[in-house]
Amino acid sequence: MEYCILFYETAASVAQRDDPAKAPAYWGAWGAYLETVRESGLMRGGSGLQPPATGTSVRMKAGKRHVQDGPLIDAKEQLGGFIILEAPDLDTALAWAARSPAAADAGVEVRPALPPMS
């Protein structure tokens, strides 16, 4: 079964990415985590995301396009990235979620993926 693991970060954590004093620890932690997930052979894909402010959202309302800068939904917890994990059960997926640096930050959500449409 495939699970989508969504990593949420606080704004302070995301800011560490570009802070010369804190960036090595930030990237070191994520690098070690992702390397370890890859070694497990369970990873099916995923990506880190640039900060929410870099996003652009579009909505169709009454036949009219509304384009806005920034994320569709503003929240304290920012989606920092995700991976797709092939795991035998939820417990396994939760164990991998709990090991991520985001678990001790804003939090991690584990969502079972829908089976592929045939």
Partner: protein, 404 residues
């Protein structure tokens, strides 16, 4: 009296006597879920009534009476069902023998009910944590890293089984104790470590769960003086307890055993731990908890200046692995060899472990240190990375990454 004062008194009573009250009520109704519901309703009534009438002299007795009333009402409502009749008969027959003095402690009986072989073994420890120590399903789910919904289902299935199979709420016969004892010991130890983790993490909302577990451990060791493992567990918990304060420095950072200030250890607890281990050893039946306590005892002796005989520690780990062949015992043994300076021996032990080691964080941490000691920097770096990647604790992760 204010709402807040009533709430405070109810919460204090819950902390002090929740497990005792559930154990007593469940023993009467032979139905844990019904006992918990009746008690929850009694707490709700207390919050509504105490602000006006004041907190009763004995909140515990008040809650017990209210919960019993709820329980018999519930049974009467369900009275058409044949299944309820024995419970109803039991309730009325035993009303006469209400406890006059302090509430008798039936928690040990309840622990053994929860460890009954007819119940799904995966539910044993969670069930004991919930019914006897009053942890909610969400906290238990967090401790076991499973979803709260799944944990809630597992718990209610187990309680239904106890009710429907009419599992007896009595101290099991001596020959039935031993097969259930391991699950009871596991649960008490799990409660202790969960409480300790909370305390180390600075979370004291639930009061002193570790202290509760220690209390149950003492109760069990006193109740079963002929069984060595309860004393072994008590000794293990006391050894860990003795070092509790020394595990955090002034800034709250983790202090490993070898860096701890021995003066901050609780000497009385160590003396009691050693006495419990001595009592257990006299039975001449070694077990997992006695061996783990002996390992703790070794480290205490070593830190207070006794010459460290590392081969003795190696023998203890070998015995532990023979008793309980877990990854933790095997990796512990490798770490002990590494401590003794035998990094090649440590690597041999680690290489022999099965594939499940891949996701076991301590395996990678010990492997990294052993490879480092052997001068294999590249191998050590890769292993430190894996150890850091598997650790959910930011402080531990940072320590490991610093060694890259």
């Amino acid at each position: 009296m204010s709402q807040a004062a009533a709430r405070g008194a109810a919460e204090a009573a819950a902390r002090r006597s929740y497990g005792k009250l559930v154990a007593w009520l469940a023993g009467r109704a032979r139905d844990i879920a019904a006992a918990e519901d009746a008690l929850a309703d009694a707490f709700a009534t207390a919050l509504a009534v105490w602000p006006d009438r004041g907190v009763p002299d004995s909140p515990e007795a008040w809650l017990l009476t209210a919960a019993r009333r709820n329980l018999s009402k519930r049974v009467r409502h369900a009275g058409v069902r044949k299944a309820a009749e024995p419970a109803l008969a039991l309730l009325s027959a035993e009303r006469a023998e209400d406890p006059a003095g302090p509430l008798p402690d039936r928690r040990l009986e309840l622990l053994f009910v929860c460890a009954h072989p007819a119940i799904d073994p995966a539910a044993h420890t969670p069930l004991m944590l919930q019914t006897v120590l009053g942890l909610d399903a969400a906290s238990i789910a967090s401790a076991f890293l499973v979803s709260p919904a799944a944990m809630g289902q597992r718990l209610s299935r187990a309680k239904a089984k106890i009710r429907d199979a009419r599992i007896a709420f009595a101290r099991p016969a001596p020959e039935d104790i031993r097969p259930r004892l391991e699950a009871v010991l596991e649960a008490i130890y799990a409660a202790y470590t969960a409480g300790l983790d909370e305390w180390l993490g600075g979370d004291t909302r639930r009061g002193d769960l570790a202290g509760e577990a220690l209390f149950l451990g003492r109760l069990l060791a006193d109740a079963l003086p002929d069984e060595p493992e309860p004393s072994g567990l008590l000794s293990l918990m006391l050894h860990v307890e003795a070092r509790r304060a020394a595990r955090r420095d002034a800034a709250g950072a983790y202090v490993p055993l070898d860096a701890q200030d021995v003066a901050r250890w609780d000497r009385a607890a160590i003396v009691e731990a050693e006495a419990a281990l001595g009592r257990a050893a006299r039975a001449g039946r070694p077990g997992r908890f006695q061996t783990e306590a002996a390992i703790q005892s070794f480290h205490v002796a070593r830190r207070v200046g006794a010459a460290a005989d590392w081969s003795a520690l190696d023998a203890l780990y070998e015995a532990l692995f023979a008793l309980a062949p877990t990854m933790a015992a095997a990796v512990g043994r490798a770490a002990a060899r590494l401590n003794a300076g035998d990094f090649a021996g440590a690597i041999v032990l680690l290489d022999a472990l099965p594939d499940a080691r891949e996701a076991y964080q301590p395996y990678w941490a010990v492997r990294a240190a052993a490879l480092d000691a052997a001068g294999d920097r590249a191998g050590a770096r890769a292993a430190y990375t894996r150890a850091a990647g598997l650790s959910g604790d930011p402080a531990v992760r940072a320590t490991l990454l610093a060694r890259l």
